[in-house]
Symmetry: C2
Amino acid sequence: MVPHRTARPARPAPPSSRDESPAPAHPEGDLELDLRKAAILTAVVSEYIETAEPVGSAHITGTPGVEVSSATVRSDMAALERDGYLTQPHTSAGRIPTDKGYRFFVDTLATPGTLGPAQRQEVRRFFAHVHGAVEDLLGHTSGLLANLTDYAAVVVGPTHETATIRSVQLVDLGPNLALLVVVLSDGAVEKRAIELGADHAGQIDDTVLAAAAAHLTAHLRGRTLTDPGIVPEGGDAAFDTAVRLGTQALGELASAGEPENVFVGGSSRMASAFDAVETVRSVLSILEQQLVVVELVEHILDRGLSVAIGSEHGFEPLASCALVLAPVSVDGETAGTIGVVGPTRMNYPRALASVQIVAERLGERLAGPPADGGDRGR
Amino acid sequence: MVPHRTARPARPAPPSSRDESPAPAHPEGDLELDLRKAAILTAVVSEYIETAEPVGSAHITGTPGVEVSSATVRSDMAALERDGYLTQPHTSAGRIPTDKGYRFFVDTLATPGTLGPAQRQEVRRFFAHVHGAVEDLLGHTSGLLANLTDYAAVVVGPTHETATIRSVQLVDLGPNLALLVVVLSDGAVEKRAIELGADHAGQIDDTVLAAAAAHLTAHLRGRTLTDPGIVPEGGDAAFDTAVRLGTQALGELASAGEPENVFVGGSSRMASAFDAVETVRSVLSILEQQLVVVELVEHILDRGLSVAIGSEHGFEPLASCALVLAPVSVDGETAGTIGVVGPTRMNYPRALASVQIVAERLGERLAGPPADGGDRGR
DNA sequence: AGGTAGCACTCGGTACAATCGAGTGCCAGG
DNA sequence: CCTGGCACTCGATTGTACCGAGTGCTACCT
């Protein structure tokens, strides 16, 4: 129920890195961070997320849990740096968090953050007013999420792998051209053009197409696209040809690398997220490759993470990015994923809160279209 | 056949701006540019497109048509500046072209430029290998065009306004849910979910749906989505309900602001096109709003332009951009538009050449799917 | 022992002046 | 009408000094 806490094993720190630590064996957390160190680290991360500037020891004295002098903070910061939670861009500058530092911050986050009333309102209005096909809904959702978080948002729709065929239709489109239209149980509609070829010209008319379509529907209903089974022939020549062409088109459709409906919204926001133009360009170009995005998202989820920070996802071109993901569940089943992509110094609390609430609402919406009438949900 | 030459009236210069000109009445072109001035302007534009730096008088002495000293060039440049073709970023800097300067450059361009063999090869390979539905083809085409030009590319597919209905189908999707699937004559497939409502539960089964669909098809075939006409009722209650719900969904479908299938590719390339991050951000955010893009493109075409430079399109947020467009014609009819969006200092020759060839090939492809077999076209 | 105050040190950023040089406008002379 | 020459402009570059935020270390305090 708390998707931002990642399912990583309890001991993230490699044991070999501790022998340097001057800290004595505390009675409390074994090799977890000192309470104060934790507070300091949290403060540094928060501050850096906000200001994007290296934060010095003096800046965080006085924040809750850090009622000590700057000198003490300094020594703790040095320790945190030794342990890999912080870095210095250069000597005599403040510290900035490492990926590991962000990780700690996210993992110890008490609450995923809450949205402001304006944001909540936006979400409510969105789901009250949005309409149209599922594809459009998903597309617009990516826009919503981008708006809420001010980062790029991705929405990966459900794959049709488990969806079964509900109907097959063949529509005449003119000379020698027909269209195969397949409706799947999840409401998706796939289509593919079929060339009849000059040799069957005239033989295959509307009647034949309709008969062949009925035949295909009868035999394919309930099967999946990827494993349609075999459709027997058994009519006259024209009929069999139509069936054969239809089956063939169906096969091509299944193998034609489904686009895995994925929507990336708000990528323009990456422009302000980084200062180096080259970084912006490369990140944008990654986001354009929807296939890569899908793979990345699935790779991250496979590893059991819902937040992947910088190097954690192991995808070099996005090393300066973090992803916050959440599955969308419909009736208990996972029906896609949504998430945001931002700089590693992203506002995690807000991102987590936004992703969580949108995932939830989207799930509800996908489960049952809006109860007509009262649109002031919940 | 030469789409880059715009259809603007012959005399772009307002007559009032000439009385300042010290140049005597030339016997040749009345108030067209001096031959040498034209050469100089062209040289400045070319140079600036290449280097992105203000070009000084000395840089272009010696280029064809400009066999004079730098001093002469200077005085001509001053005149060109007075006439609004060039500007100086600041005193004692070189000149950069104004929108009007680019316009002249484009209008007097002898040839739209030719692509390198590598590019030609890329186009050929693309159209030889691409496959799948029209939507995918258009989407990939935007990627191709972005690759060729190194700018963002837009592909606007044909609207379905004139397409007629070929088939209407109603598919049962589970409890109280059905799907309306409409196939149009241009091969497009539209769909919309229909809620049957609890009160008809059980009454409307597969058989009723099929009958209603056949009824709808019979009466709607050949009509357009926007003007479907009236479908008579005339069966039992369940049948009529199904027909009514279907008609209603059809109406919603038509009015539900068709997404006007539009594809924007390669927007990441805008990151390198401008130096100001803010410009990048705003341009990208425009490109994300497909509706705006479509309107802009149509607005430009309506004005008879195929190249819109900076202020010419009158769209403030893209004032620093130029668009190069070309219609895609299929069997003599316009079936969409493709184009590129880049900085005003874009490589017009290459952009024009790329847009032209891709538009042509895309048209051919849309007219008739690939002649199976020999894919070494033309 | 852990925290603190103090201190020397580092080093990026800024401010300022000097200089450079690309480029201009103008003018007198071919 | 073009050209060479010249004074001038002004952004960019370089060098220098300096400021100050921030650090690490150590002696000292509780």
